[in-house]
């Protein structure tokens, strides 16, 4: 490990061995798998975090990271993932929902039964509204079933914003003009208000994913979107959250995690299902184990 004088600004140089150690740690801790081919990407983000923490060397930074001092793991993960939320984020999972998951769910259910979908954490509502929009635009059977969508978050301010359903251009950047025109109404300051019917179709509630008592109020979901939150928890909390979510699903129900998360690294409770568009996790139909 040495430092280099780079045009007057000092930047820490990171060796290949250090990158290997870092990648091993990151994979074990989060499931994020980074290869040598992403070396530039890794170096840039590591250098940013080393500078931000005032660490004099990679070794010093790695010690700080392993101890999770000042929630450094959270800051690091944030630097490796996209944190802002927007409509149709990770839409490959929405495609998987309509191409694979819902078909399996409705085949196993009596006709006329309700399909229950949960977005937790739902933040300011982009995800549950995206689920509703995607279903209406992409699932031909949408009129044949009762569908309930619940959005939950620990942050009541976010829930209020979700219920208001007002978004700026940036949140809508992945939506086509046709969809924006169909489901949003322009309001002041260049913002957009989502259709009242859609606002009323989603139930927003407060829930803490790691609190068993809180989560005991939620049962019988067919599909849960729980994306980009478990990665921030410690091992015990992640397992607790996984067990809570397990109890909230119907047998055979599915859970979608964020792209950088892996349930297999958290808990053996779920089966891994590989579909063309996404890897999702399933609560076994009959769980004797």
């Amino acid at each position: 490990m040495d430092d280099r004088d780079d045009g007057g600004s000092r930047a820490v140089r990171i060796s290949s061995e250090e990158v290997e150690r870092f990648c091993d740690f990151l994979y074990r801790r989060t499931g994020l798998s980074l290869s040598e081919g992403k070396r530039y990407f890794i170096d840039r983000r590591l250098e940013e975090r080393i500078a931000a923490t005032g660490s004099p060397s990679f070794r010093a930074y790695f010690s700080l990271l392993r101890a999770d001092a000042d929630h450094e793991i959270e800051f690091l993960i944030n630097s490796f993932t996209v944190n802002e939320t927007y409509f149709y984020r990770e839409d490959h999972q929405l495609r998987c929902m309509t191409s694979n998951l819902l078909g399996t769910i409705v085949r196993q259910r009596p006709s006329g039964s309700t399909i229950r979908i949960w977005s937790i954490p739902c933040s300011t509502g982009e995800e549950p509204y995206s689920i509703a929009l995607w279903l209406m635009e992409n699932w031909p059977q949408v009129d044949n079933h009762n569908i309930e969508i619940v959005g939950s978050d620990i942050d009541t301010r976010a829930l209020t914003a979700a219920a208001n359903g007002i978004y700026g251009d940036r949140a809508l950047m992945r939506l086509s003009r046709v969809i924006v025109d169909r489901y949003f109404k322009p309001i002041a300051d260049g913002r957009h208000e989502i259709d009242e019917g859609l606002r009323n179709s989603i139930e927003f509630t407060r829930a803490n994913v790691i609190d068993p008592k809180d989560m005991a109020r939620y049962r019988d979901f067919d599909l849960i979107f729980c994306r980009n939150v478990l990665i921030y928890f410690d091992d015990a909390s992640r397992r607790q959250a996984a067990e809570n979510l397990y109890d909230c699903l119907r047998p055979g129900g599915y859970i979608c995690l964020g792209h950088s998360e892996s349930m297999s690294r958290i808990s053996p409770l779920f089966s891994v299902c590989r579909f063309p568009d996404a890897i999702v996790y399933q609560k076994p139909e009959a769980d004797h184990g």
């Binding site: 490990m1 040495d2 140089r13 060796s15 061995e17 250090e18 290997e20 150690r21 091993d24 740690f25 074990r28 060397s57 990679f58 070794r59 790695f62 010690s63 392993r66 101890a67 309700t114 229950r116 509703a132 279903l135 209406m136 949408v142 009129d143 009762n146 569908i147 309930e148 969508i149 619940v150 259709d195 009242e196 019917g197 859609l198 009323n200 179709s201 989603i202 139930e203 509630t205 068993p212 008592k213 005991a216 109020r217 939620y218 049962r219 019988d220 410690d234 091992d235 015990a236 909390s237 397992r239 607790q240 067990e243 109890d247 808990s267 053996p268 409770l269 769980d287 004797h288 184990g289």
Partner: protein, 200 residues
Amino acid sequence: MPLIRGRRGSVAPGATPPPVLDDPDPESRWAAARALAGQADAVPELAAALRHETVPRVREAILTSLMRIGGSASAEAIVPCLRSEDAGLRAAAIEALQALPSAIAPMMAQLFSDPETDVRLLATELARNMKASDATRLLCDLIEHEPHPNVCAAAIEVLAEVGTPEALPVLERCSVRFALTPFLPFAISMAIARISGAEG
């Protein structure tokens, strides 16, 4: 917008009272184990259940509850699982104990001097989540006295990720001691390269 039919009040009412850990029904035992998460006074009850539980899912819930409680009492409840005949339980116990690094640290010397090779080998994984200086000291002490090459190899693999330069002379001595064991000198050279490279 009638296509998605929201239904107010779809949230279920409060949970039913938690059952007990020796219930014949695994669903009830699962619920009982989960209800005890974070309750420090439940450690003896969870520890007793862990000794007898055979359903993997319920065992996972017991371990999660002990992890959530934490502390030395939880760690002491889990450590006996390292001697289990059941590989699944041993692996689950390692995962649980890795989440309790400060609680397990005082027990490491005893684990590393355990007469069972498998226990010493498994215990090396527990150092992985410890502070680098503590993990290096513990693993180096083990390697200096460890007669079994597989235990040394396991310790070296952990050192390759978390070790500090203080491990280098210990690794070099180990390489000499096990020079005729085909895989160890190679594993040691890899670990030395990583630790040295990390130091620059």
